[in-house]
């Protein structure tokens, strides 16, 4: 661009401030939304990439495939002793495992005990996870049974500004033990799913003390392997089925690999491939957000192109004059591309400022801590300016440079690009509003689904319910549990309390079993089973569908300490009625199933959703434990009245008086369920913000285009009015002109939104129906927005006096 072209652009901006501001602001908002969502996508796809040689590390997945089992699918944990057997069968295997992690142990310092992210790891841990050290060296530390490596934050937490090296901490995982701090590692970044604050050595005798350590079928910890190349990992994975058949025969029988497979998942894929059905949705949600960012930028670009071409026609005379003065087509193209790049650069700068200003709000709304990494973003933005500028400027540049000067200068009216130009502009409005309508429909469905998750019937009363998890700690003796439960029930705010190995949000233990059906060959369908203590169903207010629930007065209900072939009374849920093949709940009552391990159904209760709405409800049977304090994993569920904080305080005080060595850990049911909604809430909020801004940009574009078109049709309005058209006729004409592309846009938006939303909703077990009302609502909203956007200008234009309008060029 030469000086005069630059001056001309600058003064054109200054003369048409409102249009320029709209054009630049629209693009700036598009760039800001794109930038923020790109940062989010980058953050979500960057997990564990901070780790040196991360591409060489793989997680061993246990993939279950048992006919009819609710637990089929990949799990990111393995049996504890898997690594030992792999090392024996595949010499040279480099691997490690992490037992614990988030809230994995209790740290006592003086009289204060706190739960912390304690992890037990192998001595080979540093070979895979080369954590950056702040103090001390990692080599050899994890060979020592009494050494602990702590994070910088943990060092600050426990020792303040003092030197942590050589200091002592008492850490309890299985039993309390003293550890000497041997090193401090850097805090793990936010883009890590590894929750590690204190690292201690995995006990060498754990295989002997833990009965499930070498039990095939159990999943207790993640196992990590390292390979020098992708091909090496592939070769290793190919040898695993034979390994499973060989090693798993004792627990799983012949053909173990048909039931359980081992797979290798790159560590960097772990974050976006959580276990269960959430896996597909996590990726889909991220793709959807990335698309919203791209589409918003695209809408803003379409806006820019539309407004630029519309305005370009106003500059046709200038272009013609430049051509008359000797400018060739290339010079005109260069000038307008230069203008576009400059405008996009301005908009990008404004977008960067908007993103910087908006990030704190986005972070607050989404629970993230995104920042703009300028070293990476700056070159990317320069590239974006170049590409976007060329994309946005090429059509106006080609259009303008193609004008024939003789025709332009001979005409009293600036050309608008002819019929083709008008069609292209209308096509772009159709495209833009198709995206806007799709985003509006998407937002409505996302918000409805999120609301549905929060308000849906989960099968129990979620208010006034809390879960005490501290009771599951192995340091708590059964006697302490019994004392706690007895005194808990006596608290004034507590209406009922029960122990079980299950609770809302999960207890950390999930069991499944096959149940043989009478007269049906085979091991039968797989059901989840849970042990519950007295009052469990009372605490949850579970709906009884048929029969009865457990009764402590009936000794026969107690399912503990029974002979293997003794009949056990069970209660099943609604899903189990279907899975077991009964027509109704009433039909199931009184029936005995289970073959050699007979189970008699005494009652049927309604389903209770303890986990994510993405997970399917599981067919479950409950067995009764009259003294659940003896269960391996015992958690307490408490029904309380009044203020939750007061209830928590009184229960915490009670806990501290009985089990002071174990920190109190309790949460309301609502808080636990909210954890499952958090990711979807966050994605919905980001989607809604992005979509809202995309709609706003679309409106800005429509307004600009309407403004341009209305200005061009002033003379036509004068003629129409002089021929007898009323103001209403003129308003109808002008609004109708913009409603046509908006209505056409539905033809693209509806199938697009339907396909994407159907896929997204498929990730939820408990989901809303994809009603046509969402589509109608989205379209009506878009139409209302479009009408409101152009109404003001249409009304103004309709009020012009014909005499004045007829003189207008």
């Amino acid at each position: 661009m030469n000086r005069l072209a630059f001056l001309s652009l600058y003064r054109s901006f200054a003369r048409q401030r409102a249009v320029t501001a709209l054009n630049i602001l629209g693009l700036a908002v598009g760039v800001a939304v794109f930038l923020v969502l790109a940062l989010y996508v980058r953050f979500e796809t960057s997990f564990e990439r901070w780790l040196p040689d991360h591409e060489q590390v793989y997680v061993v997945q246990t993939v279950w495939d048992t006919p009819g089992s609710p637990h089929n699918g990949p799990y990111n944990d393995t049996m504890g002793g898997l690594l030992d057997q792999l090392r024996q069968d595949f010499p040279g295997t480099i691997g490690t495992r992490i037992l614990g992690g988030e809230n994995g142990g209790i740290v006592r310092q003086g009289q204060v005990s706190v739960t912390d992210d304690v992890a037990m790891v192998d001595a080979r841990f540093p070979a895979l996870f080369d954590l950056p050290m702040v103090r001390g060296a990692v080599a050899g530390v994890l060979d020592q049974p009494d050494a602990v490596l702590i994070s910088r934050a943990a060092a600050r937490r426990y020792f303040g500004s003092g030197d942590p090296i050589g200091q002592m901490l008492t850490i309890s995982v299985f039993a309390a033990q003293n550890y000497r701090v041997a090193g401090v590692f850097e805090d793990l970044p936010a883009n890590s799913d590894l929750k590690l604050s204190l690292l201690i050595r995995l006990p060498g005798d754990i295989g002997r003390t833990n009965p499930n350590w070498y039990h095939w079928g159990s999943t207790s910890l993640p196992t990590f392997l390292r390979f020098p190349s992708r091909a090496a990992a592939r070769d290793y994975a190919a040898a695993l089925p034979a390994f499973v058949d060989r090693r798993g025969r004792a627990d799983l029988g012949d053909g173990a690999s048909d039931m359980v497979a081992l797979a290798l998942l790159p560590l960097t894929d772990l974050h976006l491939q959580p276990e269960g059905s959430a896996s597909a949705s996590a990726r889909l949600t991220l793709i959807a957000l990335g698309l919203v960012g791209l589409l918003t930028l695209l809408i803003a670009l379409v806006n820019y192109v539309n407004l630029a071409t519309a305005r370009a026609s106003l500059r046709a005379r200038e272009v013609a004059m430049r051509k008359v003065l000797g400018a060739d087509r290339a010079a005109i193209i260069k000038q307008f591309l230069g203008e576009a790049v400059l405008t996009v650069a301005l908009a990008t700068l404004a977008g960067l400022i908007l993103a910087e200003l908006g990030l704190p709000l986005i972070n607050a709304a989404s629970g993230l801590a995104l920042t703009i990494p300028y070293a990476i973003i700056a070159p990317a933005l320069v590239g974006l300016i170049g590409v976007t500028g060329l994309l946005a400027g090429s059509y106006p540049a080609l259009l303008l440079s193609g004008y024939r000067p003789a025709a332009v200068l001979a005409s009293s009216r600036a050309p608008g690009g002819g019929r083709a130009g008008a069609r292209i502009r209308e096509g772009l409005v159709v495209f833009q509003f198709a995206l806007v309508i799709a985003l509006l429909i998407g937002t409505t469905v996302l918000v409805s689904q999120t609301r549905h998750m929060r308000s849906a019937d989960v099968g129990f009363q979620r208010e006034g319910l809390l879960t005490v998890l501290s009771t599951r700690d192995s340091l708590v003796a059964p006697a302490q549990k019994r004392a706690f439960m007895a005194r808990l029930r006596a608290l004034p705010s507590v209406r009922a309390a029960a122990f079980a190995n299950s609770t809302v949000g999960g207890s950390g233990e999930r069991n499944a079993d096959t149940v043989a059906l009478p007269g049906v060959p085979g091991s039968g369908p797989s059901l989840v089973w849970e042990s519950v203590g007295p009052d469990f169903f009372t605490v949850y207010g579970t709906r009884l569908l048929a029969g009865r629930v457990f009764d402590s007065a009936r000794a026969g209900d107690d399912g503990t300490n029974r002979a293997p072939d003794a009949t056990i009374n069970i209660v099943i849920n609604r899903q189990a009625v279907r899975r077991l093949g009964f027509a109704t709940a009433r039909d199931a009552v009184g029936k005995t199933i289970g073959g050699a391990r007979p189970l008699t159904i005494i009652g049927v209760v309604d389903d209770m959703r303890f986990y994510s709405p993405r997970e399917p409800l599981e067919p479950t049977y409950y067995r009764y434990a009259a003294d659940p304090a003896e269960l391996l994993t015992t958690v307490a569920s408490v029904r309380f009245s009044g203020d939750p904080r007061a209830a928590l305080r009184s229960i915490s005080d009670l806990w501290q008086s009985i089990v002071p060595q174990v920190p109190f850990d309790a949460q309301t049911a609502d808080a636990r369920l909210t954890e499952f909604y958090r990711a979807d809430d966050r994605a919905t909020r980001l989607f809604a913000i992005g979509a809202g801004l995309a709609v706003l940009i679309g409106c800005v574009g429509l307004w600009g285009l309407a403004s341009f078109n209305t200005a061009r049709r002033v003379k036509e309005i004068g003629i129409r009015k002089s021929l007898g058209a009323s103001s209403g006729d003129v308003v109808t004409l002008l609004i109708g002109q913009f409603l046509r592309p908006v209505l056409l846009a539905n033809l693209i938006a509806w199938p697009l939104a339907y396909l994407v939303l159907r896929t997204w909703l498929a990730g939820f077990s408990d989901r809303i129906a994809l009603s046509p009302l969402y589509f109608l609502g989205g379209s009506l909203l878009a139409i209302a927005i479009a009408v409101l956007t152009v109404l003001g200008q249409s009304l103004r234009a309709s009020r012009t006096t014909p005499a004045w309008a007829l003189r207008h060029d």
Partner: protein, 225 residues
């Protein structure tokens, strides 16, 4: 300097063919001041556009200093216009966002061979008496002043040919006379001028006049000096 041989210009729009110019033979000598007259729609402006190479003939030859322009590509024609031609329009066609000085300088933007651009602009403005309005924008000037600025823009590159399309059409009598005086002075100083006009009195200021009707030259007459 200019020779048009059997020039034709036909337009085809929506299957309707219109002949704007037919069988045009015309020569313009160096230093000549030619006026083209005729009723609206007779092809005057089309002829001027062809002379200015902003339109192409459908048939015939256009020789400029004996060089045939027919075979030149768009880029070469643009270069030719920048170096050889100066345009003056009825509606001035000044760029609103540029000052008068900048509008005049714009004509030199596409000339790589010209030096001392500032001085040339100043000289052109002096020639038409518009120097005091150098920093003003077009809308701040009267019609006469705008047309004088347009003439300055046309002459700043020292063109071989000045093409004026009804240069007084949008001006009152006094301003029209002023513009004609400038054009006459430029011609006297050696510029070749081809002017389209509706005004017989202004046509009389030219050295030669041709009359057109229905796309053809129907009369040609030199002014008695």
């Amino acid at each position: 300097m200019i020779a048009l041989e059997k020039i034709e210009r036909r337009y085809l729009s929506e299957e309707v063919e219109t002949t704007a110019l037919a069988d045009i033979d015309l020569t313009v000598a160096k230093g000549e001041f030619l006026a083209i007259m005729g009723p609206s729609g007779c092809g005057k402006s089309t002829l001027l556009n062809l002379l200015g190479t902003i339109d192409r003939p459908t048939a015939g030859r256009y020789l400029f200093d004996a060089a045939d322009l027919a075979g030149l590509q768009e880029k070469a024609l643009a270069k030719f216009r920048a170096a050889m031609l100066g345009f003056v329009f009825q509606s001035f066609n000044l760029i609103d966002e540029l000052t008068i000085a900048e509008n005049i300088a714009l004509a030199l933007t596409y000339r790589r061979d010209v030096t001392g651009k500032k001085e040339r602009v100043a000289a052109a403005m002096d020639t038409v008496g518009i120097a005091h309005r150098a920093r003003h924008f077009p809308h701040q000037l009267s019609g006469g002043q705008q047309q004088r600025a347009a003439i300055a823009r046309a002459i700043v590159g020292d063109p071989k040919l000045i093409l004026a399309d009804e240069p007084t059409g949008n001006l009152d009598t006094a301003n029209g006379e002023q513009v004609m005086n400038i054009l006459a002075a430029l011609n006297e100083a050696g510029s070749t001028i081809v002017m389209v006009t509706h005004s017989p009195s202004h046509a009389d200021r030219a050295l030669r006049r041709i009359d057109m009707l229905d796309g053809r030259i129907v009369a040609s007459a030199a002014r008695a000096i």
